[in-house]
């Protein structure tokens, strides 16, 4: 979006704030896409690996790359603008650090997917590791691409040549991300030690309605007999207390009735 650079007071600050908000939105969505890509990448090579999963990976990766190119241009142009006020610059630098870290994570994940794609070819399904997963990553991919439902448009039987084509494109994309990271570091010099984060050290718990999966996991914990025993003893004490209170109540009612 065109930046109005004549120093008319309100217009320029509003314009710059909008740039900041835009940048934040872009970086947030990139972080979301990178997180989803990681989830999808963890399924590669497992028994749920399929052409569909690879296709979802490809789509997620393309989205991530589009976003990163956009953010790169946006942030580079703003950070190279020498007339940026100090607080704006600080915010931009925070976004920059977040962006470069996301790019690094994406780069690692892409390298891993490439390597695993080499090793685990979909043609030979016997070698896919039986990891206990049952569903694919369709919901995660849908979240990444921000569409409510990912309809399985492509038929499962696709030619095997597509796989090698995908591998070579992946290789090219990885080197492209490499170059982007290098370019970024050359064009803009952000001093990492000067950047201060806003947020707290500990993230707040997002929702407390998550006890179900916790319960599933805690069944696997060591000393499985220990926790139910604790709960049992607590319940016993509570019952005892209630019984005592109940008896006291009945006695007092009886006394009241008889007196």
């Amino acid at each position: 979006m065109p930046l109005v650079n004549n120093k008319v007071g309100d217009n320029s600050t509003v314009g710059k704030d909008k740039a900041l908000i835009d940048g934040e939105a872009l970086v947030d969505s990139l972080i979301k896409v990178v997180a989803c890509y990681r989830h999808l990448a963890s399924c590669v090579g497992s028994c749920t690996d399929s052409l569909q999963l690879r296709d979802e990976l490809r789509q997620t990766r393309e989205k991530a790359q589009k976003l990163s190119v956009a953010i790169c241009h946006h942030l580079t142009s703003h950070l190279r603008n020498k007339s940026l006020p100090e607080e704006q610059r600080k915010e931009m630098e925070l976004l920059w650090v977040a962006f470069s870290s996301s790019l690094e994570l994406l780069h690692v994940d892409m390298c891993k997917v490439f390597k695993m794609g080499d090793v685990f070819s979909l043609a030979d399904t016997g070698t896919l590791v039986q990891t206990g997963l049952q569903g694919g990553g369709s919901e995660v991919a849908a979240r990444a691409l921000s569409i409510p439902d990912l309809n399985q448009a492509q038929p499962p039987a696709l030619p095997a040549g597509l796989e090698s084509q995908e591998q070579s494109t992946l290789e090219q994309e990885i080197s492209q991300i490499d170059h982007m990271i290098d370019d970024m570091e050359m064009k803009v010099n952000v001093l990492r030690w000067m950047v201060e984060p806003h947020g707290p050290q500990y993230a707040d718990p997002l929702s407390s309605t998550d006890s179900a999966s916790l319960a599933l996991l805690s069944v696997d914990e060591e000393r499985p007999g220990h926790q139910p025993l604790c709960q049992r003893s607590h319940i016993f004490v509570l019952l005892l207390l209630f019984a005592v209170v109940f008896v006291a109540a009945t006695l007092s009612v009886c006394i009241f009735l008889f007196s």
Binding site: S101, V108, V129, G132, L133, Q134, G135, A215, E222
Partner: protein
């Protein structure tokens, strides 16, 4: 492959000791084959069942059958696979061993397999810990808490990103179906138990140093390469040879002598600090310990070199020589060592000092070396270099070894030391005490302080350098008729 290392350091990192990973992967792919591999069963949980769980005894039986080995070896092989992170236990997830009963395991997904090329990132660990904290506050263990604080300090600039990424990964995980979510959480947890083990456990991921070149890659055949091979072969031809019976005999003798002193092969009293995290052994065997341990004193009797290389032994020997009025030999030897190992700037001064003190005619601490060696040494001292006193030093060393060493071993000084030497009792720690020890580990004294202490001690000794009365008396007897003049000590 043109894919660069994901870590953006411009050197390459190879971790050669992890070459076993490729072999382990092959074995694992065979193991997980649904037809010919280990047979899997579904794991029943409260709400759902998750497939592809395998029992420990099945794994061991399969390995024993596949490689034709006995159960014990199959068990240790299986434990190694678990320790490397290819299989993870579903119950008791912190102990990475195979139990030969019906306890359940599962195969790790290839994304979380240990790899040689990509080191494990602290950023990922920080994201994982933040995720766990989001799921339930206060669930982090003590060592994880410490790590979290440390990472917060060192990766402070990224912290917003880490928290946001943790939240996003958490939300993305919620999109998946419940059993898949549980499986993914187990996988991630197992990954981090392998790569960030709790303190006090042994990690299979210790891989030694990182190399700059890939030692498994073939070397290019340049002229330099051939030149190196030629030099190596020439030197091998020129080497002096010894009959194998003689050399093996020497090795066997060495082994039998030092067998009981080796902490790997026999017990280490009171306890091996690397195993029990208790540093009594090191404090008792400090370089300048007042009372040496019995094992240490025994080592002094093995050879003269052992006695001299141990500072406490050298002190004892010095005491003995003082009683025999021949301590100038040891002092000369020590000054020669000082010259050899000192800085180049001080060499000239040291050489002059040594000449004045030990070698000149009428020197206060004159050493007794034969005429020829004395000639060579004195002529060499005109242009002193590091090794100018080598001949004299060797002569004195041999003198001490042949004559004084034997007498030292039979002397009352040594016998006294041996009687006073302590033999500490063995520690017997319970598991709880071992954990306590692991928590109380502290770093040792800084080497700067140790060096200062050493220098102070050396200065003190130089200040108290004794005058040898024997030299004075011999000079007096030489001069004979002249009136005896008292020599004052410096």
């Amino acid at each position: 492959m043109t894919i660069r290392n994901a870590i953006r350091d411009h050197g390459q990192r190879y971790r050669p000791r992890m070459a076993c990973l490729r072999k382990a992967e092959k074995v694992l792919l065979e193991m997980q084959d649904p037809r010919t591999g280990v047979k899997s069963q579904p794991q029943r949980l409260v709400i759902t069942t998750i497939p592809h769980a395998i029992t420990g005894e099945d794994i061991i039986a399969w390995l024993a059958g596949r490689f034709q080995i006995d159960t014990q070896e199959a068990r240790s092989f299986g434990s190694m696979l678990v320790a490397l992170g290819y299989i993870y236990p579903l119950q008791d997830h912190k102990r990475l061993v195979i139990k030969p009963d019906a306890s359940l395991y599962r195969f790790q997904t290839p994304y979380f397999w240990p790899t040689q090329q990509w080191p494990v990132e602290d950023t990922d660990y920080a994201i994982y810990l933040a995720k766990r904290n989001i799921r339930k506050k206060g669930i982090l263990e003590l060592h994880e808490q410490e790590q979290y604080n440390r990472l917060h300090k060192w990766m402070n600039h990224k912290w917003d990103f880490i928290v946001m990424q943790a939240k996003e990964q958490y939300r993305a995980a919620k999109e998946r179906k419940k059993p898949d979510r549980v499986v993914f959480e187990c996988q991630e947890r197992a990954y981090w138990v392998v790569h960030r083990p709790p303190p006090g456990t042994v990690s299979a991921m210790d891989y030694g140093l990182e190399r700059r070149i890939d030692p498994n890659a073939d070397e290019t055949q340049t002229p330099d390469f051939y030149e190196r091979i030629m030099i190596f072969t020439q030197q091998s031809i020129m080497r002096p040879r010894v009959k194998s019976s003689v050399s093996i005999g020497a090795l066997v003798k060495y082994c039998t002598t030092y067998y009981s002193h080796d902490p790997f092969l026999s017990k280490c009293l009171p306890s091996n600090p690397w195993l029990t995290d208790d540093v009594t052994f090191w404090t008792l065997n400090r370089l300048n310990a007042e009372v040496p341990s019995k094992m240490r004193v025994e080592r002094w009797t093995f050879s003269f070199g052992e006695l001299l290389s141990d500072p406490r032994g050298r002190d004892d020997f010095r005491l003995f020589l003082k009683k025999e009025f021949s301590s100038e030999n040891l002092a000369f030897w020590e000054s020669c060592e000082d010259l050899k190992w000192g800085t180049a700037a001080t060499m000239r001064g040291k050489a002059e000092q040594i000449y004045k003190t030990f070698l000149a005619r009428g020197a206060p601490r004159w050493i007794n070396i034969d005429g020829k060696t004395m000639e060579i040494t004195v002529s060499g001292l005109r242009h002193p270099h590091r090794y100018v006193l080598d001949a004299a030093q060797t002569h004195i060393y041999m003198l001490m070894k042949k004559d004084k060493y034997g007498r030292y071993i039979k002397s009352p000084v040594f016998k006294d030391t041996m009687k006073k030497a302590i033999c500490p009792e063995e520690h017997k720690f319970s598991d709880a005490q071992l954990e306590q020890n692991a928590k109380n580990r502290r770093p040792s004294l800084s080497p700067i302080i140790l060096r200062q202490q050493e220098l102070e001690q050396r200065a003190r000794m130089a200040a108290n350098a004794p005058v040898d009365i024997t030299q004075v008396m011999s000079k007096l007897s030489q001069q004979g008729k002249e009136a005896p003049q008292r020599r004052t000590s410096r």
